[in-house]
């Protein structure tokens, strides 16, 4: 395992997670959450859990993003708080 790569992905995961909480635009949140899922997928793959990485990539980064975007499209794009 290359530790520089690992560190860079870990920092990006934390940045994405904080971004999801802070951003007011819910569509942006959905995209950031997709990026978070994809980075987690990379982490799983680095740790050798390829099956989990595959599930994370297809469910987390793929289909759940579509569901979030659909929900945002049918409700509201701005958060109330």
């Amino acid at each position: 395992m290359i530790w520089e790569l690992d560190l860079a992905i870990l920092i990006l995961v934390i940045v994405a997670a904080i971004g999801v909480i802070q951003v007011k635009d819910l569509l942006g949140c959905a995209i950031l959450f997709s990026a978070y899922s994809f980075l987690m997928c990379l982490l799983w793959a680095i740790m050798g859990a390829v099956d989990v990485a595959f599930t994370e990539a297809s469910v987390g980064a793929g289909v759940s993003t579509v569901f979030f975007v659909a929900a945002v499209f049918r409700t509201t794009r701005r958060t109330k708080d």
Binding site: M47, V50, D51, A53, F54, T55, S58, V59, G62, V63, V66, F67, V69, A70, A71, F73, R74
Partner: protein, 274 residues
Amino acid sequence: MKAIGLIIVVLAGALLLYSTQDFPFWGDPASPAGTHTATYYLTKAFEETSVPNVVTAVLADYRGFDTMFETGVIFCAGLGCFVLLRLSRSRDEDSYYRHVATGITLHIKSAKIPDVSSEFERIDTLWTPYDLIVKTVCRLLAPFVQLFGLYVIAHGHHSPGGGFQGGVILGASVILIAISHNMRTAIGRISEKTIHILMAVGVLLYSGIGALCILLGGNFLDYASLSRILFTNEIEARSLGILGVEVGVGITVMAVMITIYNNLSSDGRLDEGL
């Protein structure tokens, strides 16, 4: 109120970080998880089930109950989404049609053009986007996505993958059609009734294989007893039992993904998607 929430979150996070000190190191062979059952699975899984991918063998054979109820959870999620969101009444009596050759939208108050018309296309709002390039590319892409999904389900014995991932990919291909064309096209390809039947068929296939094992004299989900009707030895029967179970999981997951998307993106009216 926000300050209290922040304090609680920081305290809980600090507690969690503190408790990670007691975790075994990553990849530690002497960790509790690695000393009891994991050694057995890693050494015996291939000779007992003839499945090279140990993850699949553990998920579908040794921990078959766990995966069966996971499939049940996904089935319930799809059912819950349907019950909460689906409306039986359409939006209004008005209907919109697009003249395919010119792109002109017709708004018709009471009369109806037959839905199967080569000159007119039923649309749901005054203006829906129409892009020939996006439609054509997505239509050409969908079969390959489906082929990859089937490969992931069928090849889960040898490579990463299995019913869950393959089912999601199969569902995503139908969602791709629904996004790039419109939801009427996707429902025309695979109707709501078919999706609901498939949702139940997958769970029934999984538990049916388990029940068949009881009828053949084994325990529930003991695939070795399937060797009497499959005319193979017990090891091959376990491998084939895992394949049957994975197909069941894939069918349920695919149907649930489609039904969640259909209901979520159209407010439960199943007319116009995103």
